[in-house]
């Protein structure tokens, strides 16, 4: 028989973490029939066949052992070439690139590699749900900076300067942003870079959506003048190459930082899955056209969806990247949670309430437009009906 214990075996740090708000919506929506889900944070494409086939071939040929801790050298070379080709940033594949289990693991490694107990890391909200917990788990203190809808969720350099203390170590930037789709332009990154340099900070740049930008040219944080040496560039294959389930990402950073991340990685993970690395190799060598096809398809759906949201009365700025629309629902007088819950129960459309991405996401909902056009059209119809009834 089990004995009831009063003592909790769970660490205080973990006990203090609040569970992700997304979880609750997942539980609500997953039991229901006929739901159109705009709550999915991943592409609706299946990974291209040539990538899947390359991975199958690697299995057939018996490539089933560990790779180097940092990942297959061939793959790191391809990643270096890709970063140069796409973003004009130069990394040494032997010492400055690490293949990880998704961009998520790269984020975790980055935090653990740079944070001393009590160090502060600036997190810009609304943002991906993992940043704050990962900082806390690494012993750091997340310091929140809020961006706002009336400013299209742009990060202003003076906001960073206001929260900098002696303990500030780093700043996490995600552009294009999940959930807002906001893309920081070159001049904006330069202005942020000036503050980062002035206070001798690091930037952890989550650029997982960099392949998916729709207007103008994309600038990587590491490509900004004087920022290469202060940037941990994090990306991966999940979004651009539609490879979420493969769990394959990478980090690129100056040698000292990257070697520190590698040290943790070799103890905690050994290496990223070998078969996924072979798939990624094919993705970088021959996947460009498919990425372009998917990008085009998202852009068309973005155009349709965002214009339609505005037409039915939910104000939404045109997001420059990722595959999320982040419309305001303030005109309805409902909170994000109330709106999302009622929309789910009354019209069977699942969206994610904006407040799960941070307090400044309150008054907004995140809708992924990585769904078929038919589904998006039907979702708009249902949302329109819902709004008219309110």
């Amino acid at each position: 028989m089990r004995q009831q214990t009063k003592k909790s075996y769970v660490s205080e740090t973990v006990s203090r973490l609040k569970p992700s708000g997304i979880r609750r919506f997942f539980d609500l929506a997953s039991g229901m029939e006929g739901v159109i889900s705009l709550g999915v944070g991943e592409p609706d494409f299946v990974t291209s066949w040539n990538i899947r086939e390359a991975s199958i071939l690697s299995l057939e040929q018996g490539y089933t052992s560990y790779t180097a801790n940092a990942g297959l050298l061939e793959l790191r070379q391809e990643i270096a070439a890709y970063l140069m080709r796409k973003f004009h940033v130069e990394y040494n594949p032997e010492t400055e690139i690490l293949v990880t289990v998704g961009a998520s693991q790269a984020l975790d490694l980055a935090m653990r590699a740079i944070i001393n107990p009590g160090d502060e890391v600036i997190v810009v909200e609304p943002c991906f749900v993992a940043y704050e917990p990962l900082v806390a788990l690494a012993g750091g203190t997340p310091v929140l900076v809020e961006t706002h809808g009336d400013d299209h969720f742009k990060l202003r350099p003076e906001q960073i300067e206001q929260v900098i203390t002696d303990r500030t170590k780093a700043l996490i930037i995600c552009s294009p942003n999940n959930p807002t789709g906001t893309v920081l332009q070159k001049e904006e990154l330069e202005a942020i870079g000036r503050i980062v340099k002035k206070y001798d900070l690091l930037v952890v740049a989550d650029e997982i959506y960099a392949e998916l930008t729709y207007d103008g040219t994309y600038t990587s944080v590491a490509a900004v003048d004087g920022m290469w040496e202060r940037t941990i560039l994090i990306s991966g294959f999940s979004k651009g190459f539609a490879m979420t389930g493969w769990r394959l990402g990478f980090a690129a950073a100056p040698n000292e930082i990257l070697q520190a991340m590698l040290k943790i990685h070799q103890y905690a993970m050994m290496c990223a899955p070998t078969m996924a690395q072979y798939g990624a190799l094919e993705a970088l060598r021959n996947g460009g056209q498919d990425v372009e096809y998917m990008r085009k398809s998202y852009r068309r759906r973005r155009n349709y969806f965002v214009q339609s949201l505005n037409e039915i009365g939910l104000y939404c700025h045109m997001p420059g990247g990722a595959f999320y629309a982040f419309p305001s629902i303030q005109s309805t007088g409902l909170t994000s949670e109330q709106f999302a819950e009622r929309l789910l129960f009354e019209e069977k459309v699942a969206v994610v309430p904006g407040n799960v991405f941070g307090a400044s996401g309150e008054g907004y909902i995140r809708c992924s437009y990585a769904s078929s056009l038919e589904q998006l059209q039907e979702a708009i119809k249902r949302m329109k009906r819902f709004l008219e009834r309110l």
Binding site: I22, F26, S30, E42, A130, R300, R301, N303, A350, L373
Partner: protein
């Protein structure tokens, strides 16, 4: 004909789904409905868009399953008109769905649709083989269509993603 980026985009979208509402199409390419309609009309008038047709899975319709044959045809080209004249004589038959001039072991690839194998066989022996320029024919019947014009038959559009994720 040199087309603009938006025009090409409209063609690409219509090629996938010709029945897309004009309003949706206009939004996707960030034009007004009127502008989009004008472009579609122009594409129709210039025969860039030749026609809109339904892709039918006839196997599902009892009594209309039909048969499709691909016939490799060797012909003697004629001075002055090359293969064009004989190709025209062949493609004028309504049973003929497509005719292509090929490189390689034979000259024309002819696709025929008929109600039964004997109907196709009759066409080949009576109409095709008897043409003066035709030297020989090799008929291949299609047993099963897996993918046609870029569309996979019997493909469930199953979404395997979990309903809500960060």
């Amino acid at each position: 004909m040199k087309l603009s980026e938006k025009e090409v985009e409209i063609i690409e979208i219509l090629e996938k789904d010709a029945r897309i509402p004009m309003e949706t199409l206009a939004k996707m390419v960030e034009l007004t409905v009127e502008e989009t309609e004008a472009i579609v009309k122009k594409l129709e008038e210039t025969k860039v868009i030749v026609q809109y047709a339904a892709l039918v899975d006839w196997r599902k319709v009892d009594g209309h399953e039909g048969v499709t044959a691909m016939i490799d045809v060797k012909v003697t080209p004629k001075r002055g008109v090359g293969f064009d004249e004989v190709a025209e004589r062949i493609y004028r038959f309504p049973e003929v769905k497509s005719v292509y001039l090929m490189s390689g072991a034979y000259d024309l690839s002819v696709v025929i649709e008929g109600r039964s194998m004997s109907e196709v066989a009759q066409f080949v022996s009576e109409k095709l083989s008897t043409l003066d320029s035709v030297i020989s024919t090799t008929t291949h019947f299609i047993l099963k269509k897996y993918k046609h014009d870029g569309t996979v038959f019997d493909q469930g559009d199953q979404d395997r993603r979990i309903v809500v994720s960060p």
